[in-house]
Subunit: 279 residues, 2 copies
C-alpha cells in the first residue's frame, strides 16, 4: 500500500518530496532508483525522516501501526497530518491517548483498495481507481485538514469518500470485507480437491479470489474485530440455514420468494452504487 | 443462451442455416431482422422446424427441457445431433428412455457460461470466451459425433471441454455453481441494508454479483440437485464453523495455519487453471 501511495502521489503534477521508511533496504533502493521516492530511511532512522514530513501515511498491520504511532509520537513535525490505514479501528481508538498530540492532526482512514499480490513490484496507483476511502474524523481533527486530506485522496484516484465513525466502520467492514474473506476461505477449505476448477464457470473463481489471502494480516484483522465479525458470521449462517431448509423441505414457493427478494435487494445495491458513482 | 449460440454460430465463416424456436414472437422477429436467424418458429410449429435440423440446441429450464425432448422425440431428423444445456442432469438421466432414439444422437452438455442478464439483447458470443463446456457422453453416442460437437463448441469460443459422466457432473456442479449461488444469496440476505456498498472495497460486490439471480431457474436447479447441494452446503457450513471457532477462541496459530492452507490450495487451483488454458 505504501508503494501504491508513493506511485499515485508521484504521478500528480504537484512536486511532492516523497520520503519512505521500510525495513527492506532493497525495496527502498529500488524505489529510489526508479525515481519513486526522494529518500529512503531504515526503521531506526524514523525520527530523522518524520521531522521533515508534512503528511505521513502509516501503512502497517494494525498492531504494528499502533506501536509505530506510539513509539514515534514525539518525533512528528509540528502541524503535520498523520494518517494510518488499518482495516480495524477498535484498537486505534483504545490507544488514542498514546497517539494524539495537540500540534499534530491524526486522521483515521481506511482505503477500501488492495490486491491479493503483495510488495512494491505489485503496487500501483491503479488499485485506487473507482474505490472508496473511508475516513473517520475525530473531535480533535481540524476541518481544513480533513478537507485537504479528502481532496488529496480524490486526486490520487479514489472515486469516493465515505465519512463515518470508528465504531460504525468496524461494524460495516466486518461484513463487507472480513466476512467475505471468511466465506471465501471456507469455500476453498471445503473444496474436495484442487481440480474443481475443471467444472468452474467463473462463479467459484470470483467467490474465492480473495482466498489467496495474506494469512498473518487477516488473522490479525479477524481477531482485532472479533465481536463484530462473529455477529455477521452468525447472521450469514442463519441466512444460509434458511435457504438450506427450504431446499431440504422441497419448499419451492418459499425458496423462489427468498431468491426473488435477494435479487431485488442486490439490484437495489447496484443502483445505489451506480448513482453514487455518477454523483 | 439460445441467442448467444445463434450469434456465435453466425459469426463463424461456415454458412450455417440457423432456425430458432421461441414462445416470444417479438424476439424471433428481431433476430430475423438482425440477420441472426434464417427462420423463426412458434412452439406449436416445432415439428416443421425439427425436421430440417441437423443439430439442435435445446436451451430450456431442466424440466421444460425434458418435456420438450419427450414431446418432440418423434420429430427430430434422422441422423440429427440433439443436445441440451440444463445445469443438472439427474432428471435427464432418469428420463433417457423417453428421450433417446436409435437414429438420433443425444448429447448431454453443460456450457459453464452465462450472465445475470437475461434475454436476447443481453446475449452474445462473448460470454463463451475462455469458458469450459462440460460434456457427458452416453454409451449410445457415436464417437465421431462427440468429436464433431467438441470441435464446434471450441469454434464458437469455449476454451476447453471437460468430459465426465452425469453423476460426477451433478456432484461437482453442486459445488462450483449451485453452492456459490446459495452463498451469494445468503450473503445478500444477511445484509443489514442496501447502503452497505458505501463500505465496499470490491469483495462484497464480487461475491454477490451472481445474487442478481433468476429466481425460478435457480429454485428449479437447487431442488433438482438437492442431495448433492445439501452435501456441499453442509461441508461449507463445517468449514465456516471451524474458522468461526478459531476466531471465538482467539486461536491465532490455528487460524493463521488454516488461512495459510487455504491460500496455498487456492493458488494451486489457479496454477492448474493457468496450465490448462495454455495446453
Amino acid at each position: 500500500m505504501g508503494g501504491s501511495f508513493a506511485k499515485a502521489l508521484r504521478a500528480l503534477p504537484d512536486d511532492y518530496r516523497i520520503l519512505a521508511l521500510d525495513k527492506n533496504p532493497a525495496a527502498l533502493e529500488r524505489a529510489r532508483a526508479d525515481g519513486l521516492i526522494d529518500g529512503g530511511f531504515a526503521p531506526q532512522d524514523a525520527p530523522a525522516m518524520l521531522a521533515q514530513c508534512d503528511i505521513v501515511f502509516v501503512c502497517l498491520y494494525p498492531q504494528d501501526s499502533i506501536a509505530f504511532l506510539t513509539r514515534q509520537k514525539s518525533f512528528f513535525k509540528t502541524g503535520a497530518i498523520v494518517t494510518e490505514i488499518a482495516g480495524v479501528k477498535r484498537e486505534i481508538v483504545n490507544h488514542l491517548s498514546d497517539i494524539l498530540r495537540d500540534d499534530v492532526d491524526f486522521i483515521c482512514g481506511h482505503p477500501m483498495a488492495g490486491s491479493e499480490k503483495e510488495g512494491l513490484p505489485h503496487s500501483g496507483a491503479g488499485i485506487f481507481k473507482d474505490k472508496i476511502y473511508i475516513i473517520m474524523p475525530l473531535p480533535s481533527n481540524k476541518r481544513e485538514n480533513i478537507e485537504f486530506f479528502k481532496a488529496l485522496i480524490r486526486k490520487i484516484g479514489f472515486a469516493r469518500v465515505t465519512e463515518t465513525n470508528c465504531a460504525v466502520h468496524d461494524h460495516k467492514i466486518a461484513f463487507t470485507s472480513q466476512l467475505c474473506h471468511v466465506i471465501a476461505s471456507a469455500l476453498v477449505d471445503s473444496a474436495e480437491d484442487t481440480r474443481i476448477t475443471e467444472f468452474g464457470g467463473g462463479s467459484y473463481e470470483d467467490l474465492t479470489r480473495i482466498a489467496m489471502i495474506n494469512a498473518p494480516l487477516w488473522t490479525e484483522l479477524f481477531l482485532a474485530n472479533k465481536k463484530e465479525l462473529i455477529f455477521h458470521i452468525t447472521a450469514f449462517e442463519n441466512s444460509i440455514q434458511k435457504i438450506k431448509q427450504f431446499i431440504q423441505e422441497n419448499n419451492a414457493p418459499a425458496l423462489n420468494a427468498a431468491l426473488q427478494n435477494v435479487r431485488e435487494k442486490r439490484i437495489a445495491m447496484s443502483k445505489r452504487e451506480a448513482s453514487a458513482q455518477e454523483a
